[in-house]
Amino acid sequence: MIEVANLTKRYGGVTAVKDLTFTVRPGRVTGFLGPNGAGKSTTLRVLLGLHRPSAGTATVDGRPFGGRPRGLRQVGALLDAQDVHGGRTARAHLTALARSNRIPPTRVEEVLEDAGLTGAARRRIAGFSLGMKQRLGIAAALLGGAPVLVFDEPLNGLDPEGVRWVRGLFRRLAAEGRTVLVSSHLMSEMEHTADDLVVVGRGELIAAESLAEFTARGCRQRVTVATPAADALLSLLTAEGASVRTEGGLLVATGMDAGRVGAIAQRHGIPLSRLQEERPSLEEAFMRLTADAVQYPTGDAR
């Protein structure tokens, strides 16, 4: 369990994180979202004890992480895949990390295998592509089999096979009861992977709720209708309170669900050749809710 309470972090005059409070529960994948510069990486650096908070606390299982004797068995983290020395081989890098935490060398081979890096284990990291470094960082995070895992944009540079691996990995880690916090800008990926969301903007909390709640709140449902009597249906739906526009010969209604639209059409004998409810997308919800937060102070989010 990760708990961030009233966390503020200033760098000189820049307030990167401001009075941020949220909880990340075990057994779920929690997406950590926010526009560029929102303070996600800063929050994670403070959580991991790399940066000191200006105010507030960030704890893992009730205690700060910074200063603990050993970390890998408690939190597995990938903050930045570039945070490695390019002169070492992948195996040497992982072996040194494992040794410091008294993790047996066999575990190094296991995570190399998991990440698909066995073939590259003897190569120096400087020659790795971004995706390979990302895999190496994830492998390092898995070394200790920690109950809490933190990933900052782990999907950067990964190929489709890698993305699939990571997606399955996160789901499985959560299913095993671990706490999984993942920051990402890939909304489509988060939509498939995350159970919960923590959304920040300009260092402040915008939302901490389930993915379903967030998307539902973020954008109203849309219903697409195809009918030969488009004009008639348009005025009927508008009269019933929906806002309707035409889009390439189709009607797109918002503010009304598909059932209502169908019922209204039936009542007036209007034939429908297509009636489709579109699920609101996370991306749309994100764009809308974070745009709002930039415009207004937080706490004012609809």
């Binding site: 004797p69 945070d83 040794r99």
Partner: protein
């Protein structure tokens, strides 16, 4: 809610929660040693420095050998009486190169981690920062001591073999030999720790190199032996301590003499201060 639709069968994971073995400092030392030896640059840089220092010493001895015939018998006798064969085992030039080179080599393990960001990965794996920097100091000092011992002994054997060509080489158990060998060997780890401390405090490569050169090379040039206060300050410097410890028995004492024990103390104080600075400088700051 949390089923795993895409779970890949090739990942094996121990169950949560798990047993945690007792943390041991030795593990951190071992990890730092793996990090140091797994960099090709470690071996190239230390090898180049060893060649330079040994070459300087051997070159001086060879110069003496080559021009031996030009000396008068009285001159030759004075050369031996002044203890100069032993001085050629490790020359002042070699000592100056050693101080600068080892400062930089000692700084590199930490500078490399600052520059690449690898220190963040290190501190995430081991959040107890002081233990990490302490282990780094142990490894840096240990490796530099081995380097110093190797270079010093090889230099001694090589130079004395060359001088033996003129019959003036001295044996390992000759008078003053252990002191010279020890003082020259230990110069390496003390300088390496100094470099490490400067890296910890300054974090930037250029600044660290500049500060290293100033501390071990420029200051001894600026502070002379002739005035009381500059002599006093000079005697706190590493190179001055090394000069004091390796001064040939036959040389005239400086205007403000100091004891051998005082010179050893300078070594000890530099090493202790360097380790303290290293540990304190990265204990709390953001990385």
């Amino acid at each position: 809610m949390t089923t795993a639709p895409h779970a890949s069968p090739r990942t094996a994971q121990p169950a949560v929660p798990q047993e945690e073995p007792r943390p041991r400092f030795a593990d951190l030392v071992a990890a730092e040693w793996i990090k140091l030896r797994s960099l090709r640059s470690t071996w190239i840089a230390h090898g180049a420095a060893a060649l330079a220092v040994t070459g300087l010493n051997a070159g001086t001895a060879y110069d003496t050998y080559a021009h031996w015939e030009e000396r008068t018998p009285a001159d030759r006798a004075a050369f031996v009486r002044a203890g100069l064969p032993l001085q050629e085992a490790f020359t002042v030039n070699a000592a100056v190169v050693t101080t600068v080179a080892l400062c930089v080599l000692g700084a590199l393990p930490l500078l490399g981690e600052f520059a690449t960001g690898a220190l963040r990965t290190t501190f995430t794996a081991v959040p107890a920062r002081s233990a990490v920097t302490g282990a780094k100091a142990v490894v840096v000092a240990g490796f530099a001591t081995a380097w110093g011992a190797l270079v010093t002994v090889v230099s001694f054997l090589l130079t004395q073999a060359i001088l033996d060509g003129r019959g003036v080489g001295i044996a390992l158990d000759g008078p003053g030999v252990p002191r010279v060998l020890l003082a020259s060997t230990l110069l390496a780890p003390v300088c390496a720790l100094t470099g490490l401390a400067l890296a910890a405090a300054l974090r930037r490569t250029a600044a660290t190199v500049l500060a290293s050169v100033t501390a071990v090379m420029v200051l001894p040039l600026l502070l002379g032996e002739d005035r009381y206060w500059t002599a006093l300050a000079r005697h706190a410097l590493l190179l001055a301590a090394w000069l004091r410890l390796t001064a040939p028995g036959g040389s005239a004492p400086p205007p403000y003499p100091w004891t051998e024990a005082g010179a050893w103390t300078v070594y000890a104080v530099w090493a202790t201060a360097a380790v303290s600075v290293t540990v304190l400088a990265v204990r709390r700051r953001d990385v």
